[in-house]
Amino acid sequence: MKLKKVISLFVVTSMVAAMALTGCGKKEETKPEVETSTEVEGADEAETTEPEKEMAKKIVVFQSKVEISDQLEALAEAYEEETGVEVEVWGTTGDDYPQQIKTKLSNNQGPTVFSLQPGAEVEQLKAYVADLSDLSFVGDIAEGMAPQADGKVVGVPYTVEGFGLVYNKSLIDPAKVNNYDAFANMLKEMKAKSINGFSLSQEAYFLIGHILNTPFALQADPAGFLAKLNAGEVKMADTPEFQEFGKFMEAIRENTNNPLEVNYDKETGDFATGKSASIHQGNWSYGMFKDYDVDFEMGMMGLPLNGNDKIAVSVPTAWFVNSQASEAEINAGKAFLEWLYTSETGTKYLMEEFGFIPVVKGMESPQLDPLSQEVAKYAAEGKTISWPMTNWPAGIVDVYLVPVAEQFFTTDMTGAEFLAALDEAWVQANK
């Protein structure tokens, strides 16, 4: 009997102790009730009928793009000055963001506004993203660029990014490198001059994800093709664009450095110092060159697969509002996005401070870096292909495609065998 008393005494004391301990952080807990989500469902219907929209005095923003985190802090201050609503920016977590945001959302400790990658990621989290179709500028977002779930617009794109061949204009003339033979010859010529004609690098997307996107995007109906591939109705090994892709990969393996020996830093460093004539990269890589004295002009061109001259342009990241937040918070989150994309200060930040390429009609960006200018140019000319890779089965690039690519680059498997192995990876990923 005494034991029981002791136990209960201890449960209570440790609780008290825990409370005392948690007290040290508690003073910071002024955040409005993001957490009380479960009861929101019932409550929000009642609230929407009220004439005046309830508006939270504070929102929390959590996003994945490390490059803009300092500017975002400044923006948060500007927003508070103009509207009186406090914006708390959570520290960016770098490359484990997807895991972070999922854990936080599943726990009701989600932020008000957050970022996701359009495609499979949004599809998985669609229960957690609010309908944004009533924002005033939604109609002005470039066609097909606003992420949707169940037919409703749920996200606002950050910017567009494009990837393809980033090439050295003094070494390569894109007009002449326009098909497989020309590409393979270029690699051989460069090799004779002890220059690396083309380079991938060991990181998952830079090794296989981005380059494999091209044959997908070149299909007449990329989404339809992907659906069939997932269902096992077609095979890459039997599709012409992929067969050509296999040839490209063989040429790359034979005539260039092994990408598994090259990391992103070395890939861009070799390019900046003229040791590589071209790299398979996007406009985001421009930041990697700022410490170098680059003495040549660079441009972007498509991977000339089946004569392709288009680069792959789409939205890498978009803003979303947490549907599990309180009604007042959702409203405040939407108001923030509205302000960001329509007010003078907001758009100035997007264009000048973040260096984004405009995706909403009426915005103009005065100071793009050379690679982003190329992307904007290709986009304006309509010479773009899409990013079917964002709809590939979740996790496939890291878990299934990378091992196959590693096998390809460490053995002498043929392009055809490579495609067969990729097909097998697709089967595995869809199991």
Binding site: K2, L3, V6, I7, F10, V11, T13, S14, A17, P98, Q99, K102, L105, S106, Q124, L125, A127, Y128, A204, N258, L260, E261, N263, Q324, P393, A394, G395, D398, V399, V402, P403, V404, E406, Q407, T410, A429
Partner: protein, 291 residues
């Protein structure tokens, strides 16, 4: 009366920690076991389908999981031996009267402080650039090449890096054990004319048996759960040759969103490893000498 008060003290001393431990480790673990019977992606608002023991049946035909378990066992056995031999050697050296012992002690323990992406970055550089360079200079290209791209050597490379990281860590525990041997015992042995190896094997080793138990178990548990080094150094490559068990589970849960299946894998592996280790712990415990 006496018994009651004994129980009171027993409770007073153990309950606080047991309570915290239960809420932080045991309950989540039990919840995790529950989830292993579902097909679910881990998000509360998404559908959770009860599939019974399907997840458990599935994993016995999952060749990638089975081979990752194989790598883990091989890696762990190799790493345990090397780490402990090296850690013990270090500990013996830095507990001698060597002048530089304090400096050496600090330097040897420092590698444990480098983890994550930076660790992978540095060691990748050493294996690819530095090794290639040494190979060219010395002509020993059979040994000095990029181990990380070789199916067999990549796992050995992982052992090298894990050893580099953990030997100094294990050394700290051996040091505590060696320092605990009373001086007079050693002196008595010296008076009796025991040589270096005699002292080592007849006196020191038996007396630091508790340290052996602890170190073996700690290396075992660290190696079985190895993740950081795995991810940043090889990422499981080339072609899954170094994918360890923890990484396989991590991929299943966070990359492929098969939360329930990932939990099932974790539980099976836990049962296997726990039974092996508990046997190991009870064997070495029996060999300990009581003072």
């Amino acid at each position: 009366m006496k018994r009651k008060s004994d129980k009171f003290w027993y409770g007073l001393f153990t309950l606080p920690l047991v309570f915290v431990f239960t809420t932080v480790v045991l309950i989540p673990f039990i919840i995790g076991i529950g989830y292993s019977f579902f097909s679910w992606d881990g998000l509360p608002l998404n559908p959770k389908v009860f599939v019974g023991v399907d997840n458990f049946i599935k994993l016995f035909s999952d060749t990638r999981f089975l081979s990752s378990a194989g790598h883990t066992i091989f890696f762990t056995l190799l790493a345990i031996i090397i780490i402990n031999v090296l850690g013990l050697t270090f500990a013996l050296i830095v507990t001698t009267k060597l002048k530089v012992r304090n400096l050496a002690r600090t330097m040897l323990f420092m590698p444990y402080l480098i983890g994550g992406l930076i660790l992978g970055y540095i060691w990748k550089f050493i294996f690819s650039d530095a090794f290639a360079n040494i190979g060219e200079q010395t002509g020993l290209t059979n040994f000095f090449f990029n181990w990380l791209l070789d199916y067999d050597y990549a796992l050995v490379a992982l052992v090298v890096v894990a050893t580099w990281q953990m030997a100094g860590y294990i050394m700290i525990i051996y040091i505590a054990g060696i320092q605990g041997i009373p001086e007079d015992v050693i002196e008595a042995a010296a008076v009796d004319g025991a040589g270096f190896f005699n002292t080592l094997f007849r006196i020191k080793f038996p007396l630091i048996m508790p340290s052996f138990t602890i170190c073996l178990f700690l290396t075992l548990s660290n190696c079985f759960k190895i993740f950081d080094v795995n991810l940043s150094l090889t990422g499981g490559g080339p072609n899954n040759a170094t994918e360890m068990f923890a990484m396989n589970i991590y991929n299943e849960i966070f990359q492929l969103n098969n939360y329930g299946y990932g939990q099932a894998k974790a539980i099976i592996f836990f049962i296997v490893v726990a039974s092996v280790t508990l046997v190991q712990v009870s064997i070495t415990k029996k060999k300990e000498v009581s003072m």
